[in-house]
């Protein structure tokens, strides 16, 4: 078994309104950050994972995202996997 560090990012599809991002954008502008454009807020998930090899780890993370970590009705995701000690 190898140990992997996994980082998953989940965010709303562009077609879905993101009120949090909207509110934060407003806050930033009112604080004087005039250059701030659209803000979108998603989730950032960190995890350790034990798996046979990199491929198995990738398969599992893909599966987790599909099933649990993201809801495909409104969200998309991306992930990065790094082997421990490498």
């Amino acid at each position: 078994m190898k140990q992997f560090d996994v980082e998953v990012k989940v965010w709303l599809k562009p077609s879905v309104f993101d009120p949090q991002g909207h509110a934060v954008h407003g806050a930033l502008v009112s604080l004087g950050f005039q250059g701030a454009g659209e803000v979108r807020i998603g989730k950032f998930i960190q995890m350790t994972l034990a798996a046979e090899d990199r491929q198995a780890a990738e398969r599992q993370v893909e599966d987790m995202c599909q099933k649990v970590l993201a809801n495909p009705v409104m969200e998309t995701y991306a992930f990065e996997i790094r082997e421990r000690g490498q």
Partner: protein
């Protein structure tokens, strides 16, 4: 990292970092007959802290009346318990979470709610309601708005998720709380009167369990180890995070377990976690307890006994089971997916003994820790006598009225409570917005009434009278919905007790509260003291908060604060007609600071009013009753008119000063809205109970509220009142820069 040796603790006075003074340390040495090691010194430090030992307030708290035929459990347990008849009882308590909320408002408030919840269900009571009493600085300040928004979100975040309705409370704003917000949470639960569970570690040989969350390094005081160069220190946080989901499972599992009769004693691990729960449970049983720390489930590696004992990780319980009933408990906890660990035994040698890695790492007589904790008679300064004040009349009565309506202390609080689930459990008869909340007792035609009150301004001006008013007002709110006030809990939020002036406020406020409790037959059954509410040497206004609980027999007798059908109802002023502005919010606005004495109070008359309010409800002699509080009669009438969506005309008695009559906060008063054909019945009741009652006006179809005086008249459009009252808080909050962090 190496722990300091007993000698180093003494020589380098390291005990000071653990919260012990030089004298207290010497006392520890004397009690032990040797030098305490690091764990032991830490344990003494937290248990002898103000928070756990009440060392500054104890001598004064003894003056509270705590008994009565209705009291089944007074102070000293996890919560007080009061009989409500038909075999049922209510357990309730209030607790402060001021300091944690100032650091991290969302989590501070959430964990405050979680903690008070556990205090209630450990009594064997099913929690039925939360109330929250909040104090902040003025909302013109961005940090204050952030604190306010986050505290409210945190209370809702925890309460909504555990499925207990938040049915009442208060929020006030004053510069005195700018650096030091107050977050007091109250929980009420219901139980069979003969099934009270206590936090006692009884029965030698009985096993002791830790249930719930794993123990982490949350909230450990030890600044001792913290060296500034330590890079990990940055990553450390004293903030405790609540897990309402786990809290809910823990509540259900514990209630289920308690129902099996397997539980001998149970206690929440609140402040000072494992230390206070084990020592207090042993102390109540007059015995000892032995813990094997290797068996405590931990969340982080390398935790020391010191850290395990002082951790304040949330959602943990200490449970003593009857020997042989372990399997019953395990099967319940397993079903809820909760972790449970057998960590020790009840002993009879009176010692708190901790084992770790095969060695005894601490051995302390329980008596020394709990019963013989220091008690201080701190110096009490001279009494302050209220100064008479001259309070100017307003240039424009209507304008002054509207200013009061839009003052955030008075204005509509629905911005707050619509973020709370006020109805979950489907037993809420009256939620927020009424004088008191009413929550039905399942399967009985009975409801529990509850309200919280307290006014720092009154107590600052006259601590004794102010303290009494807090009790009177809370009980009056309970009586206003038709219920019989039974008992109170309280939270005493004061400044630095090492200052004689603050101790004077505390001592006097307690005297006033005690007197009111006696007059109104509402003993104190539980409570909490929060001292050192200060910032840069500036103490907060003394702010005792009172939570009163009462019972209403017969749901049909419930009395709303606003009538359903209002047109044509007569408005009757119950209680004394007054025009003194002492201590009023109007006076504070007019003079720029609180002035004069606290408002008028007559406890005997107050008691008669409460009796009358219950009779009015029982005999349906009114359609609505609303108590007169901050902002005076003007605000009370306007609130009824707005709620009813209906104008009113009122005539003041001859010879009164208009501003005084409108805005006086004299106590012991209420307004009743009465059907014309019930008017005589109501006046008869008032006469019989010797309460002044005057028909002062009526609801009309007109779109304004109008008050006429002998030589003056004031008329304010309902629309203006509504705008001032309803928009005040939302418009102050708006879409705020830092507020939006609350949304992340």
């Amino acid at each position: 990292m190496r722990e300091p040796t007993p000698e180093e603790i003494r020589e380098r006075a390291l005990y000071r970092n653990l919260g012990l003074t030089d004298e207290e340390y010497e006392r520890v040495v004397e009690k032990l007959g040797r030098l305490p090691n690091y764990v032991e010194a830490g344990i003494f430090g937290v248990l002898w802290s103000e928070h756990c030992s009440y060392k500054s307030s104890k001598v004064h708290l003894r003056r509270f009346p705590t008994t009565g035929p209705q009291v089944l459990q007074g102070p000293g347990e996890n919560a007080g318990v009061v009989d409500i008849g038909d075999g049922f009882a209510v357990a309730f308590k209030m607790e402060s979470h001021n300091h944690p909320s100032a650091v991290e408002p969302y989590q501070g408030a959430a964990t405050g709610v979680g903690g008070i919840l556990r205090d209630i269900f450990t009594m064997g009571a099913r929690p039925i309601a939360f109330l929250d009493s909040l104090r902040f600085g003025p909302l013109d300040d961005v940090r204050t708005r952030y604190l306010f928004a986050q505290v409210v979100a945190g209370i809702g975040g925890y309460g909504n998720c555990v499925g207990i309705p938040t049915v009442g409370g208060e929020v006030q704003f004053s510069p005195t709380y700018r650096q030091n917000p107050l977050v007091n949470a109250m929980c009420v639960g219901i139980l069979r009167a003969d099934r009270i569970v206590r936090g006692e570690a009884k029965g030698v040989g009985n096993p002791v369990f830790v249930v719930g969350a794993r123990t982490g390094r949350d909230g450990i005081h030890g600044a001792t180890f913290a060296s500034a160069e330590d890079p990990e220190e940055k990553e450390r946080s004293a903030v405790q995070v609540g897990d309402p989901f786990l809290g809910k499972l823990l509540m259900e599992a514990c209630l289920e377990l308690i129902a099996t009769g397997a539980v001998v004693g149970i206690q929440d691990m609140g402040a000072a976690g494992l230390t206070s729960s084990s020592a207090e449970m042993a102390s109540r049983a007059g015995g000892g307890i032995e813990l094997v720390l290797d068996r405590v489930p931990v969340r982080e590696t390398g935790m020391t006994p010191y850290e395990m004992m002082l951790s304040e990780s949330q959602e943990r319980m200490l449970v003593v089971l009857e020997r042989g009933k372990e399997e019953t408990a395990f099967s319940i906890f397993r079903r809820y997916g909760l972790e449970v660990a057998d960590v020790g035994r009840v002993t009879d040698d009176g010692m708190l003994r901790l084992r770790w890695r095969g060695e005894v790492v601490a051995e302390i007589p329980v008596r020394a820790l709990v019963d013989e904790a220091p008690v201080y008679e701190r110096p009490v300064g001279p009494p302050v006598s209220p100064k008479p004040a001259s309070i100017p009349d307003p240039r424009d009565l209507a304008g002054a009225w509207l200013d009061l309506m839009r003052h955030p202390n008075v204005a509509d609080k629905s911005w707050v409570y619509r973020q709370y689930d006020t109805m979950v459990r489907a037993q809420t008869v009256f939620g927020p917005g009424m004088d008191a909340a009413l929550v039905k007792v399942p399967d009985l035609d009975k409801a529990v009434a509850m309200a919280t009150d307290g006014n720092g301004r009154y107590v600052r001006l006259n601590p004794k009278k102010g303290g009494a008013i807090a009790v009177a007002e809370a009980a009056r709110n309970v009586a206003a919905v038709g219920a019989k006030p039974l008992a109170i809990t309280n939270c005493l939020n004061f400044g630095n007790p090492e200052k004689p002036a603050v101790m004077r406020q505390l001592a006097d406020a307690i005297d006033g509260m005690a007197e009111a409790c006696r007059a109104l037959d509402t003993p104190v059954v539980s409570g909490n003291v929060s001292l050192y509410n200060e910032s840069r040497g500036q103490d907060i206004d003394p702010t005792p908060i009172v939570g009163c609980v009462g019972v209403l027999d017969g749901i049909v007798r419930r009395m709303p604060s606003v009538p359903r059908e209002s047109r044509g109802l007569k408005l009757v002023v119950l209680g004394r007609e007054d025009d003194a502005l002492d201590g009023s919010l109007y006076a504070e606005l007019a003079c720029g600071e609180p002035v004069g004495d606290a408002p008028y109070l007559d406890l005997a008359a107050e008691r008669r009013l409460h009796d009358l309010l219950q009779r009015i409800a029982a005999e349906r002699a009114a359609e609505a009753v609303h108590d007169v509080s901050e902002g005076g009669l003007a605000v009370a009438v306007a609130e009824m008119a707005l709620g009813a969506g209906c104008g009113a005309v009122i005539v003041a008695p001859d010879g009164v000063r208009p501003a005084g009559w409108l805005f006086s906060e004299a106590q012991g008063r209420a307004i009743a809205a009465v059907l014309p054909d019930r008017l005589e019945a109501l006046l008869d009741l008032a006469r019989a109970l010797d309460v002044p009652a005057r028909v002062a006006g009526e609801f009309t179809g007109a779109p304004h509220v109008e008050v006429s005086f002998a030589e003056d008249r004031v008329r304010v459009p309902l629309a203006d009142l509504a705008e001032a009252y309803r928009n005040a808080i939302p418009s102050l909050l708006g879409q705020d820069a830092v507020d939006s962090r609350a949304t992340l």
